[in-house]
């Protein structure tokens, strides 16, 4: 601390500390606390009480329409007297001139034809009694809603209900998503390790630079566009199918399109592509420090390429692989855009889609938080597992 002040001066030190404090509190601590708090706080959002309130509101609306009709009839009765012709058009009230509706819900569906038999007075009476009945049931519904609400309020508060109320399907999706993310991580490693190795051990610095540049260029494109480019390739009438059609392997006109999209395979493919750099760069970073002499020494001692990678290069790249695996897994497990764009109609969904739906469609933030918390916990466990498996410490990872 004293060192910092000596180094940067009082003002700059204060600014740095303030920014760090802001970052930590506002962007890490608060959202996490808020999420955890919501996750363990149960709130009924779409329960029976809400249903009851909805029903009462519907009844209320019906009464309002009825009252409108009643007022119209009353005016008609007052204006026309006892002997007025029921069908005579009244300029003052366009509704009064309509053929008398015989339906039980006047005003909504007037029956066609002027054969109405019911006298306005009789109708008025009938509507009035109907209104009495409805008003009574509204009161009943309101009372019921009140009671249910009270029950729900009693159930609200700190509990694990957000977790326990998750349907078995959602739990299954959660588990599957973890497995999928693991698959993406492994696939990504298989694709990225050779690339990183080639870049790190390239004969000239120029070649390394070119290779890394080529890897980076696609990332200049917006992520959504990058994913969408894939959907254009994989779509039913997309590039891939058209190529196959042109090669005569499938026949598009006969409906022989292969359904590439909406499969986990294509979601994996696009994810590996989308998050490739996060695997390539850490591995490249650690392989770059590998002494080329070690590879030559191993070769000189008669080792095959496989053995050189397995015994010399891979052990050296361990920290990089660990970092890459952690990043790719976390990105894959939380990825929304890829399954959303590549896998419409995919069943089951990815867990991230369910979380998204809870937040932004069902507006149920508490359940959403609970699910997000599950993801957070599984990511944390994954990090520790990877560190254990690769026998790397935080320090090596931070390097």
């Amino acid at each position: 601390m004293g060192e910092m002040i000596r180094f940067y001066g009082r003002f700059l030190t204060g600014l740095i500390l303030a920014l760090v404090a802001f970052w930590f509190c506002a962007l890490i601590l608060m959202p996490q606390i808020s999420m955890i708090q919501r996750a363990f706080h149960y709130e009924a959002r779409d329960g029976a009480a809400a249903q009851a309130v909805l029903e009462a509101n519907r009844l209320q609306q019906r009464v309002a329409t009825m009252e409108f009709d009643i007022r119209a009839l009353e005016r008609e009765v007052a204006a026309g007297g006892a002997g007025a012709a029921p069908a005579a058009p009244s300029p003052s009230n366009p509704f009064a001139g309509l053929p008398s509706p015989g339906a039980p819900r006047p005003g909504f569906a007037p029956s066609p034809g002027g054969a109405a038999a019911e006298a306005p007075e009789a109708r008025l009476e009938r509507l009035k009694t109907e209104r009495e009945g409805l008003t009574a049931s509204i009161a009943g519904a309101r009372a019921e809603a009140q009671r249910l609400r009270a029950e729900e309020v009693a159930a609200q508060g700190w509990s694990l209900r957000n977790f326990t109320l998750m349907s078995p399907l959602h739990w299954r999706i959660f588990g599957l998503t973890l497995v999928y993310a693991l698959c993406v991580t492994v696939l990504s490693f298989l694709v990225c390790y050779p690339i990183a190795y080639a870049a790190a051990q390239a004969k000239t610095p120029r070649r390394t630079a070119l290779l890394l540049l080529a890897l980076t260029i696609p990332y200049a494109l917006n992520e959504l566009l990058r994913i969408f480019a894939w959907t254009m390739i994989l779509a039913n009438q997309g590039l891939l199918n058209q190529t196959l059609d042109a090669l005569g392997i499938i026949d598009l006109s006969q409906g022989g399109a292969v359904r590439w999209l909406a499969s986990n395979g294509s979601v994996f493919l696009v994810m590996v592509y989308t998050y490739m750099l996060f695997m390539v760069f850490p591995i490249y970073g650690s392989l770059e420090t590998l002494d080329r002499n070690q590879i030559e020494a191993a070769k000189d001692l008669g080792a095959s390429s496989w053995r050189i990678h397995w015994r010399v290069a891979l052990p050296h790249a361990r920290p990089g692989v660990a970092v890459g695996a952690i990043m790719t897994f976390m990105l894959a497990v939380g990825s929304l855009s890829v399954p959303q764009l590549v896998g419409p109609g995919l069943h089951p969904d990815w867990f991230s889609q369910i979380v998204n739906r809870n937040f932004f469609e069902s507006n149920n933030w508490n359940v959403g938080s609970a699910q997000a918390l599950l993801l957070l916990v599984s990511c944390t466990i994954f990090i520790f597992l990877v560190m254990r498996i690769f026998r790397v410490g935080i320090r090596e990872i931070a390097r």
Partner: protein, 358 residues
């Protein structure tokens, strides 16, 4: 383990416009300790890489034990290379390092371990099997590298300046060690170095290289006592150089005219009259003038450095600097002007050419 002969036939390497190694013929006998000596950039490492298979020569052939190896990759050749950086595997234990070549051959683990222990005993590292390279000292790591290379029972062991990272004492110790290991195993050693002391101390024969060309090949005494070129004369050991034109050449001797009068020496290059020549005389063959010396010159003592067994006497005669090694016999070294002498048998007259240092 049996050493094999290595033959280079018109072996050359060109990188674009740059010629790293001129086409070279060289035969290294089976079981020989052979050194390639030269300054950095002279092409000695390129030759080593071509023999080990890491570099495809742009012309010529490499034969090991009479078999053409030019097209074979490193792992298919009966050679083992010890790198300048040693290139031990830092994440493996010592014994795994040593046994790595056997592992690559598919030898079962128990057998590997036993063989690694034998080899570690050979290089006096028994009991260090479970350590990692970082836990060993420089000299110990050196010996691990030797053991690792020997584990694959190579016919030819290639060493790329492996001692350059060690301090002087350790280096001298390791010289003896390497020589002992070579004698004991009978493997052909090809040793790359820029340190002439190393080359002389360990080798049976030495090749002196300059700018992609082998200047002289021969036993160590010959290299030191009868250098073939001005470069070899100045690169290997210290030498006093006198320049002049040949004034007489007869009876195997050549006489050159210098600012210090006429000097004579062995006419190694069969110089003709009038040719630009260089006369070389080793500092230890110079001495205060004695009756048997047929050549004399006067010089001023500038400095006397004690090296232990001898003094380095730095003298000057006009523009000419002269180094003389005077045995330390307990007397104080001379000062002021002194008369030096040497016999023409000890001097060597060579055609004027490139020198090792400027």
């Amino acid at each position: 383990m049996q050493g094999q002969e290595v033959a280079l036939e018109r072996l050359g390497m060109r990188f674009g416009e740059f010629t790293a190694v001129e086409p070279t013929d060289l035969t290294i006998k089976a079981g020989e300790f052979f050194s390639i000596l030269g300054p950095s950039g002279c092409g000695k490492t390129t030759i080593l890489r071509m023999v080990s298979g890491f570099q495809r020569p742009s012309e010529g052939r490499v034969l090991i034990g009479g078999q053409d190896m030019t097209a074979l990759p490193p792992n298919k050749r009966p050679t083992a290379l010890i790198f300048q950086t040693l290139a031990l595997f830092p994440l493996m234990t010592i014994w795994e390092n040593v046994a790595f070549g056997l592992e690559a051959q598919g030898v079962p683990k128990a057998q590997r371990r036993k063989r690694a222990e034998e080899l570690l005993d050979l290089v006096a590292l028994g009991g260090q099997e479970e350590k990692r390279p970082a836990q060993l000292s420089g000299g110990q790591r050196q010996r691990v590298a030797v053991a690792r290379a020997l584990a694959v029972e190579p016919a030819v062991l290639l060493l790329d300046e492996p001692l350059s990272a060690l301090d002087l004492k350790l280096r001298q110790h390791m010289r003896a060690e390497l020589k002992t290991i070579q004698r004991r195993t009978g493997v052909t050693f090809i040793y790359i170095t820029h340190d002439q002391g190393e080359a002389l101390a360990m080798s049976d024969r030495v090749a002196v290289m300059r700018a992609g060309r082998v200047e002289q090949v021969g036993p160590t005494e010959e290299i030191y006592n009868r250098p073939a070129t001005s470069f070899a004369a100045t690169f290997v050991g210290e030498n006093n150089l006198f320049r002049g034109k040949t004034t007489r050449a007869e009876g195997g001797l050549a006489e050159i005219s210098t600012p210090f009068g006429l000097l004579r020496g062995e006419n190694a290059d069969s110089l003709a009259l009038g040719e630009e020549a260089m006369l070389f005389i080793r500092p230890e063959r110079l001495a205060p003038a004695r009756p048997e010396h047929d050549l004399r010159l006067k010089a001023q003592v500038e400095r006397a450095d004690l090296e232990g067994p001898f003094f380095n006497l730095f003298l000057r005669a006009g523009d000419q600097r002269i180094l003389l090694q005077l045995p330390n016999e307990g007397a104080t070294p001379p000062e002021g002007e002194m008369e030096l002498g040497f016999s023409s048998r000890d001097a060597r007259v060579l055609r004027a050419g490139a020198l090792a240092h400027g």
